[in-house]
Amino acid sequence: MTIAVIDYGMGNLHSVAKALEHVTHENVVITDDSRSIRGASRLVLPGQGAIRDCMGELQRNDLQGVVHEVLRAQAKPLLGICVGQQMLMEESEENGGVVCLSHLPGRVRHFERDLRDTQGQRLKVPHMGWNRVTQHHPHPLWAGIDDDARFYFVHSYYVEAQEDSDIFGTTEYGGHTAHVATGRGPVFAVQFHPEKSARDGLRLLENFVTWTP
């Protein structure tokens, strides 16, 4: 039993691997090898930085094919994190428009520049820090985690899923409702960083490594 963190050359994967190792005795590998990805029992699709670079690196490293194949087969659990969540959608507004993996219907939108709260106070973009996640639908990955628990976020773009049944968690920021947990079948994806979200984040990862969809 191996959990593979897909390494397509974008960002820091050590945090997520270390957090997974903390919650499971199973083997955790960071890999860019298609065979290891096919052979793994569970996959983590992370992502950091600009989505055009993430999609570009996925293609350049010949990993888009295997990710598509895994998503289509629906045979093993996959956890998307941050830009990894966004890449599962159809397209993103970032970088002038980027076509994504189209696993779930919906798009990735930008928090506009001059974001304000209800009192007119200026809100910062990126949305950085600990915010509440409302559990829109029940899901096995929410086990043991309170509704409206706080998770750690760093992002300027957010997912807007089309189908209500694909939305598992939402967060309000500057008058926008970001769909911060989305999924379908064996795929679950989150905008926040469970590997940096203290106890609740570790609990979500623990739920993922024991999940049988």
Binding site: G11, N12, H14, S15, K18, A19, H22, Q48, G49, A50, R113, D117, T118, Q119, Q121, L123, K124, V125, P126, H127, M128, G129, W130, N131, R132, R150, Y152, V154, H155, T171, E172, Y173, H193, E195, K196, S197, A198, G201, L202
Partner: protein, 257 residues
């Protein structure tokens, strides 16, 4: 608004020990960095900042090992600063388990380094540390300048303009330290905090001078900071992180409890 303000305990680490200088003299030992980080994590700190103030180059390897050990046990964001001068330095720290790096002097000597680092690693992990000191006299319109070398060397750069420039170049967050206040326990310099928080779109961490919980409240409410950083009030047990958070909540600030 539900985004919580953050409390960030800061570990100033010299040769593998947490220390805290009062205005950079009279350094007091505050323990093993890994144990201190674990304690703050258990107390509910929102992030941890690790500043390597090791003077001798030979002891730098210790820092990487410390960061690795902290990152293996503490699952909240970890920022590492001190001596970050090249993209290789950044890669080393990220590989050791840091989530963000804080760039200080190198940003002043070579501003393009901030741009290069943000392009390569993403703005989300690039914090620029700004050490500002008030240079205007009483009665004059307030003006702050950037200082390097622990507040000893003036640069002639206006702090507010500098902050905007750093954000344009790709800084994802600013760590603002008042060199007049650092170690004094007299509270943040709210003037410069507010001026910079107002001028830029990225989050601001206020630092330097916390001696009382009211200072944390003022940093957020009057200074407009998104996060507050403190060291000695937590290291020596005057207050715990939950004490600080509860107090801030009582004052109407949204916190993660």
């Amino acid at each position: 608004m539900a985004l919580a303000k953050r409390i960030i305990p800061c570990l100033d680490v010299d040769a593998g020990r947490v220390v805290k200088g009062v205005n950079f003299v009279g350094i007091r030992d505050a323990g093993d960095p890994v144990e201190v980080a674990k304690r703050y994590n258990q107390q509910g700190a929102d992030e941890i900042t690790f500043l390597d103030i090791t003077a001798s180059h030979e002891d730098r390897g210790t820092t990487v090992e410390m960061v690795e050990r902290i990152a293996g046990e503490v699952f909240i964001p970890l920022t590492v600063g001190g001596g970050i001068r090249t993209c290789d330095d950044i890669r080393t720290m990220l590989n050791a388990g840091a989530d963000k790096v804080s760039i200080n002097t190198a940003a002043v000597t070579n501003p393009d380094f901030v741009h290069e680092a943000a392009e390569r690693f993403g703005s989300q992990c690039i914090v620029v540390a700004i050490d500002a000191k008030r240079v205007s006299a009483e009665g004059e319109p307030p003006r702050w300048e950037i200082f390097t070398h622990g507040g000893r060397k003036p640069t002639g750069l206006d702090a507010v303009e500098w902050a905007s420039k750093m954000v344009e170049l790709g800084a994802g967050e600013l760590l603002l330290t008042s060199m007049d206040r650092d170690g004094t326990k007299a509270g943040f310099d709210l003037g410069v905090t507010h001026a910079i928080a107002d001028a830029v779109s990225v989050p601001i961490i206020a630092s330097g001078g916390v001696g009382h919980l009211d200072h944390l409240v003022a940093g957020v409410k009057e200074g407009g900071a998104d996060a507050v950083l403190a060291a000695s009030i937590f290291h020596f047990g005057e207050y715990t992180i939950p004490d600080a958070k509860r107090y801030m909540v009582e004052q109407g600030i949204e916190m993660r409890l």
